[in-house]
């Protein structure tokens, strides 16, 4: 049940002076959907390229289903299915012809690819559309075709690069339900690289990357629970006066203005002290305070808490009087 389908062992990679990936170790197990998150420039893309064998690490090793990418790249790659948002298909070929193309590129014989292809198309719900030109599929169907193409050679590890960015939530829901069934039924492992919270919240396990390292990892609910008691929601007016006032409290680490309320992250164990200080500010400055109460931490709070501590932001995150460092 817990076979390691991907092992990244102490991998480093530099480009000149820039150390894009630093001594990074991680695993993806069968049945797991691992969300790799991080801001632009954190090293996600470099890591994904190393994992799929498109780039060699300076040091360290990648094993896919136990096979070394360094020593046996072709065999290791045959265990990987890859799907990106920019999946390209031949619009003037039919659904089946597209899959045949991808199968043949993977070196599958006709007696292997044909039954597998039909099985996969049924699985993703395209079984009735084998003869349709790919160019005439809807966005959601194209995405399913992309998924089917990445699965045709029965990979054990699926690499997904921002798979549902910009997609209709209904389509996205369908896609993730498919993915989850796939993970459960075929027991593959999935690695999803994304900067988007929408996608990250659907993973069974997330890793946050910053400046080339994995700075935090765990199941999303565990990571959120770790911030329990550190998130406050404030309703009051004027909201921006509240933001300025709260930014001056040293125990307030992060502030998000959100429509009609502020979402505050405070230092561990300081929620009560901050609450008292804010109530006092309300009296002193004549700000109106409607409600002020702890609220559930979001994965976005986890992300911000993890990343802010690890990146040199050089002013990017310190403007308008709110210092985020």
């Amino acid at each position: 049940m817990t076979e390691k389908l991907l092992q990244v062992n102490s991998v480093s990679r530099s480009f000149g002076d820039l150390q894009a990936v630093k001594d990074l170790t991680m695993q993806v197990r069968g049945g797991e959907i691992f969300g790799l998150m991080g801001p632009d420039g954190a090293g996600k893309t470099t890591l994904m390229r190393i994992i799929c064998g498109a780039l060699l690490p300076d040091t360290g090793e990648v094993l896919v289903n136990g096979i070394s990418m360094n020593k046996s790249p072709d065999q290791a790659r045959s265990e990987i299915g890859y799907l990106s948002q920019r999946f390209s298909m031949y619009e003037d070929l039919t659904v089946l012809e597209n899959l045949r193309f991808f199968a043949e590129v993977r070196g599958l014989a006709a007696d292997v690819w044909r039954p597998r292809t039909l099985e996969i198309l049924d699985f993703v719900g395209l079984g009735e559309f084998t003869g349709r030109l790919a160019g005439r599929l809807s966005g959601g169907m194209k995405q399913k075709l992309g998924l089917a193409a990445s699965l045709v050679h029965r990979p054990r590890l699926l690499l997904l690069d921002e798979p549902t960015g910009g997609v209709d939530p209904v389509t996205r829901q369908d896609f993730w339900q498919l993915l989850i069934r796939l993970v459960r039924e075929e027991h593959v492992g999935v690695l999803v690289s994304t900067p988007y919270m929408d996608e990250a919240v659907r993973c069974t396990y997330v890793g946050m990357m910053a400046a080339g390292s994995l700075v935090l990892e765990g199941p999303p609910s565990e990571l959120r629970n770790a911030l329990e008691g550190q998130i406050l929601q404030l309703r009051g007016a004027p909201l921006l006066a509240w933001r300025r006032a709260a930014a001056n409290l040293p125990d307030v680490l992060d502030i998000q203005v959100s429509g009609t309320y502020l979402h505050l992250r405070v230092a561990p164990g300081r929620a009560r002290a901050v609450t008292r200080a804010l109530k006092q500010l309300a009296r002193e400055r004549g700000l109106s305070l409607e409600t002020l109460a702890p609220t559930d931490p979001l994965l976005e709070d986890v992300f911000n808490a993890a990343i802010v501590d690890h990146v040199s932001t050089e002013g990017l995150y310190q403007i308008n009087g709110v210092q985020h460092d």
């Binding site: 991080g38 801001p39 632009d40 420039g41 966005g139 910009g166 997609v167 209709d168 939530p169 209904v170 389509t171 829901q173 993730w176 339900q177 989850i180 069934r181 459960r184 900067p195 988007y196 919270m197 929408d198 919240v201 659907r202 993973c203 069974t204 396990y205 199941p219 999303p220 609910s221 909201l239 921006l240 933001r243 998000q256 203005v257 959100s258 429509g259 009609t260 559930d296 979001l298 976005e300 992300f303 911000n304 990343i307 802010v308 990146v311 932001t313 002013g315 990017l316 995150y317 403007i319 308008n320 709110v322 985020h324």
Partner: protein
């Protein structure tokens, strides 16, 4: 502050047989931040282009800043700022030259004002850098500077945070709130459900139709008309099929390491626990949770 800045009445745009925007009616008041939420291709950009007078509607009417979009588009464009999805910057020009270019389009030449605009977005130090060397988060802020350099009253932001990470997004939204504090009105399109939560009111678009527009809280309360639950139970796939059969359960989906259930208010926690237990599932935990705009969107789409 109650002045209406945008008003549309049955605004419609067809391209051949395809209806990109379908009889959309809404109003935006001065000083509001209104989100326009929908997937790619749902009609958000087409709506903005019509409001800017760049595209004529097939039918319906709209007034922006008191001007009719059909007959009087010129003052609308002069008094509005538009930041497009693709941050149309000149890569081979510096930050300063890009800003100068956009200022020139609006006949703004005052250097002190240009400097103040760069300060406004926190980019004075980057003035001499080439636009192509900027990280995405900075490009986004330069694009915002270009959109506000002529001091517009109304700002259209079309998918402004596509491709930027949550931290850069945070900084960007701080800037938007500052601008609104100074009196600007903003219409922001996005396909991110979580980003829409930052807006004071949110319109939900799907296939050209505006399905609802209200504050995020009221949308969740009125549209959803039910309770959201976080449910843990193993095996999860069994749990889904068990829960889906419970009367009053609207939707069950996997969300990360747990299930998310939307059910009518009459469905109590004890019912959910009991159903899971009698199906012989392990590790059962059920707790109420706050719904998100994605739940609202899915509910509206399923009707």
């Amino acid at each position: 502050m109650i002045e209406t800045v945008v008003r549309t009445d049955q605004l419609t745009k067809r391209f051949g047989e395809f209806t990109a925007v379908d009889a959309v009616s809404f109003a935006i008041k001065s000083g509001e931040i209104v989100g326009y939420l929908g997937p790619n291709g749902s009609g958000k950009t087409t709506t903005i282009r019509m409001l800017l007078g760049l595209l004529l509607p097939t039918s319906g009417e709209a007034e922006v800043l008191g001007y009719n979009i059909r007959t009087d588009p010129e003052p609308i464009r002069r008094k509005s700022g538009y930041m497009s999805q693709r941050f149309a910057l000149y890569d081979d020009l510096t930050v300063w030259e890009n800003l100068q270019f956009y200022a020139g389009v609006y006949a703004v030449t005052d250097e002190a004002h240009l400097k103040a605009t760069l300060d406004r977005v926190g980019m004075r130090k980057q003035a001499r850098e080439m636009a192509k060397d900027l990280p995405v988060g900075w490009r986004q802020r330069l694009a915002l500077a270009a959109a506000i350099v002529h001091q517009p009253q109304l700002l259209f932001l079309d998918e402004p945070t596509s491709g930027v990470d949550p931290l850069a997004r945070r900084v960007f939204w701080d800037l938007i709130y500052e601008l609104v504090d100074e009196g600007i009105t903003a219409l922001v399109t996005t396909h991110f459900m979580d980003e829409a939560e930052y807006c004071q009111r949110v319109g939900i678009m799907r296939r050209g139709q505006l399905l609802a527009m209200d504050t995020p809280e009221r949308l969740k309360r009125d549209v959803l008309d039910g309770q959201a639950w976080d449910v843990s139970a193993k095996p999860a796939l069994r749990a889904i099929s068990v829960l889906e059969q419970v009367p009053g359960v609207h939707r069950v989906g996997l969300s990360g390491d747990h299930l998310r259930v939307i059910a009518a208010k009459v469905v109590r926690k004890s019912v959910l626990v009991q159903v899971l237990r009698s199906a012989g599932l392990d590790g059962i935990a059920v707790s109420p949770t706050s719904p998100g705009l994605e739940d609202v969107f899915l509910s509206l789409s399923l009707d």
